[in-house]
């Protein structure tokens, strides 16, 4: 990549923006292959490679650099960020015509080049189709129709690997406006006025948090970005970092200016190698362009950003534990107060915000608080990105105005249940979250509405489940997660989660007792009230909410000895399908507890009272006659 000339004033930034717009708009065609983790796993790199070869074969000139205008006919090709619809990847977008190709294979490259790039026509078979229609443009797709993109607006349209693509779309203009047109107090006031609330979980007012830090007198302050995204099943922060890393950097720099910090840290989980490499590239380009580092845009403000890689500990998503981890210690939470605003990283005043929170900031500064409040609802303005996964037809990242109902998300955008079975529940907020059921389909998704039913926005993971998912097993799954991740500092969390896990394991293995339910409830409340940090305080949530909405299912396991969803192994029994059994007797010979009997050449039977469900019979049977049900 060519080195970027240092920009010495907002005027120079403006000039570069105009130049970038004319160069990029002057480009006949842009081919963007999704470079998000999902599509990269699904064969994106092979598609990019095949497209490049096809372009070469058909002698289509390709710009070595997106800004090179010498050759007017030349096109650009590269990786974009994730457009969200991971389910139908790998995705290829063609701009400016805006064709949206799904499930592209390397073999399709030739047609894309000859029909679309050279002749401007869509390749029909690559367009998204449902029963009735075929859709050429992204915004027409049912998946996108009800979405509103603020944070993700540039994700999937720009090449994250080139800062000028971001600049062409107003990138860093908010930073320039703040540095050269607003006082730090005015920045804080604008963000407060916008009503932006933290997207990392608790939903605290971002403007007020910045205000607390701003007023503390200190020669050194820090801005920290929480990119630990520990909720398993959530990946919106990952997508923002991969698809539009500069939006995060710009938001952090604005925060630095607002609170008077000259240094920032991004704490990224180590499981996101692609996000880390995109961030490194972005930081280096922004430094070369004079948009980060010393004397930004030639003014007096300096801001340096460092990356810290996490090392695999969920509790490090908690802000004080995260701070300990950056300092090089075990990621143990600290009691609050003191809050990070007063004593954070190395004891200095520190602002900790989530990735998505920062990604909203430049939009607010550019378009104003009023504009931001036009999205969402009064007490939760703006949009929220959710990761929609599980048993739903359309999985991927979605962005909707705060207050969109759960039903709209699952059925309109998500397209309903993938398996054709009945909808059962949505798990929101991960291991700290709760289950929402059919009765909540009209519930608006925003901080206060969710809180009123005992749930939370959390990070924004929405895992949809059909009736084949056992809710007791889900509660056990989350409890085993939090139990493993408990840092062990406080007794209630360390021991309480262990005991709850024991009980839940007992129930799903068919050994539950009726008293277990009240014991679970008692433990859940004690752990919730007595733990030191948010991990322990929220660990019982999945148990509390499944007990509330699915108590019958717990009782079925304990009293009736059945798992209504048919998921829990221990409630399944092995049996032999007599039509398939050839009577070879191998299973009976191998059964370690002699639970199988019969006569050679006629079907064998399993005595359920003796069977220990070891599964050897199913394994050795050559005719697939042993089934578990």
């Amino acid at each position: 990549m060519t080195p970027f000339a240092k920009l010495n004033s907002p005027t120079e930034l403006d000039a570069l923006k105009r130049k970038a717009i004319s160069a990029i708009q002057g480009c006949a065609t842009r081919v963007l292959v999704c470079g998000g983790t999902g599509c990269m796993a699904n064969g994106g790199p092979a598609v990019l490679d095949a497209l490049q070869k096809a372009l070469e074969k058909h002698e289509v000139p390709v710009r070595a650099d997106i800004m090179r205008e010498e050759d007017e006919d030349a096109i650009t090709i590269g990786y974009s960020g994730c457009p969200g619809y991971c389910q139908v990847g790998p995705i290829v977008r063609i701009l400016p015509a805006d064709y949206f190709y799904v499930q592209v294979k390397p073999e399709d490259a030739d047609d894309i080049v000859t029909q679309t790039v050279m002749n401007g026509k869509p390749v029909d078979r690559l367009l998204f189709k449902d029963e009735n229609n075929s859709y050429a443009k992204r915004d027409d797709l049912p998946f996108y129709k009800d979405q509103v993109n603020v944070v993700l607006a540039d994700c999937g349209v720009i090449e994250p690997g080139d800062i000028r693509d971001y600049i062409a779309r107003d990138g860093y203009r908010a930073l320039a406006e703040a540095l050269f047109g607003l006082t730090p107090e005015a920045v804080v006031a604008e963000v407060t006025e916008s009503g932006l609330r933290g997207r990392g979980g608790a939903g605290f007012s971002t403007g007020r948090k910045w205000g607390f830090t701003q007023v503390v007198q200190s020669a050194k302050k820090y801005v920290v970005c929480n990119a630990d995204e520990g909720d398993p099943g959530a990946f919106m922060d990952e997508s923002i970092m991969e698809g539009n890393p500069h939006a995060l950097l710009e938001g952090m720099a604005i925060a630095g200016y607002a609170i008077g910090a000259d240094e920032g840290y991004i704490y990224v989980r180590a499981e996101y190698p692609l996000a880390i490499s995109r961030l490194r590239t972005a930081i280096s380009q922004a430094e070369q362009a004079g948009l980060l580092g010393d004397r930004i845009l030639g003014g007096p403000f300096s801001f340096h950003i460092h990356i810290k890689e996490g090392a695999g500990a969920f509790v490090c998503g908690e802000e004080t534990a995260l701070i300990s981890s950056i300092e090089g210690q075990r990621g143990m939470p600290r009691p609050k107060p003191p809050f990070p605003a007063n004593s954070g990283l190395w004891g200095k005043p520190t602002v900790v915000n989530n990735v998505e929170t920062f990604a909203n900031v430049s939009k607010i500064i550019l378009n104003g608080a009023e504009w931001f409040r036009s999205f969402g609802i009064e007490r939760s303005p703006g949009t929220k990105v959710f990761a929609l996964t599980g048993d739903v037809v359309n999985t991927g990242l979605i962005e909707v105005p705060m207050g969109t109902t759960l039903g709209d998300v699952v059925f309109k955008i998500g397209g309903g249940i993938r398996t054709g079975r009945p909808f059962k529940a949505v798990q929101i907020g991960g291991p700290s979250g709760a289950c929402l059921t059919e009765e909540h389909l009209d519930l608006p998704l925003d901080y206060d509405s969710l809180k009123s039913v005992g749930a939370m926005v959390g990070s924004g993971g929405l895992v949809v489940m059909d009736d084949s998912t056992c809710m007791v097993e889900i509660a056990r799954f989350f409890m085993s997660f939090t139990q493993k991740e408990s840092c062990g500092k406080c007794v209630l969390c360390r021991e309480g989660t262990k005991r709850m896990l024991d009980i839940l394991t007992r129930i799903v293995s068919g050994k539950g007792k009726v008293e277990d339910i009240s014991l679970l409830e008692e433990l859940a409340l004690t752990v919730r009230d007595g733990s030191l940090c948010g991990l322990g305080k929220s660990a019982p949530n999945p148990v509390i909410s499944t007990l509330k909405h699915f108590r019958d299912e717990y009782l079925a396991h304990i009293v009736d000895g059945v798992c209504p969803a048919g998921e829990c192994e221990s409630f399944k029994a092995y049996s032999i399908v007599s039509e398939k059994c050839k009577g070879c007797g191998l299973c009976a010979k191998k059964c370690p507890v002699n639970a199988i009997s019969g006569e050679l050449k006629s079907p064998y039977v399993i005595d359920a009272t003796l069977c220990t469900r070891c599964g050897v019979c199913a394994e050795v049977c050559k005719f697939d006659a042993v089934v578990l049900s």
């Binding site: 796993a41 991971c86 990761a387 996964t389």
Partner: protein, 175 residues
């Protein structure tokens, strides 16, 4: 710096190891805040954290060995036991769990003769770990083999992938 006291004999293989570690420490700086990045880099090179290296790092950073050991055991990423040449990570995050990834976990364990408490094969060819969420949730169930993400995968596809790796390895060994 005080670490010269623990340096092994000049010219020995161990001494060469330590000079590499010394390089890593210099790269990141001998401060407590660099401890985690240093251990990450060491693990990159050795595939685990040998005990004597932990002591060496502690001395170089002027920290009690217990502190370094405490950090090394706190984070899931660090391993105090040698890992295999190939690392397989099966995601057991929520999205992958509800898409019934248990059969994949069982199949990989069975193929490699491993169990929840035995994560590395005896020949040190494979290590199989369960991790929570690798960020490919929309393509659940997901497995990562040597950094390559397999989305919407199946038990059979994973067994085949392992077969392939083993074959390639054996061909390489034979040369």
């Amino acid at each position: 710096m005080a670490q010269s006291a623990v340096l092994p004999e000049k010219g020995s293989k161990a001494r060469r190891h330590f000079s590499r570690i010394q390089q890593i420490i210099e790269e990141y700086g001998a401060t407590e805040s660099a401890l985690i990045p240093i251990l990450q880099k060491v693990q990159d090179e050795y595939r685990y954290l040998p005990e004597e290296i932990l002591t060496f790092v502690a001395t170089a950073l002027d920290l009690p060995p217990a502190t370094v050991y405490g950090v090394a055991t706190f984070y899931a990423q660090f391993s105090l036991e040698p890992k295999g040449k190939h690392i397989i990570k099966c995601c057991d995050g929520t999205a992958c769990h509800v898409r019934k990834n248990q059969t994949i976990i069982n199949a990989i364990n069975q193929r490699l003769g491993l169990a929840p408490d035995k994560k590395t094969t005896d020949d040190h060819r494979f290590t199989f770990e369960i991790v929570s969420c690798i960020g490919a949730c929309a393509l659940a169930p997901a497995v990562v083999i040597d950094g390559h993400v397999y989305g919407q995968t199946t038990a059979q596809a994973m067994v085949e992938a392992i077969d392939k790796i083993e074959e390639a390895d054996k061909a390489e060994d034979a040369q």
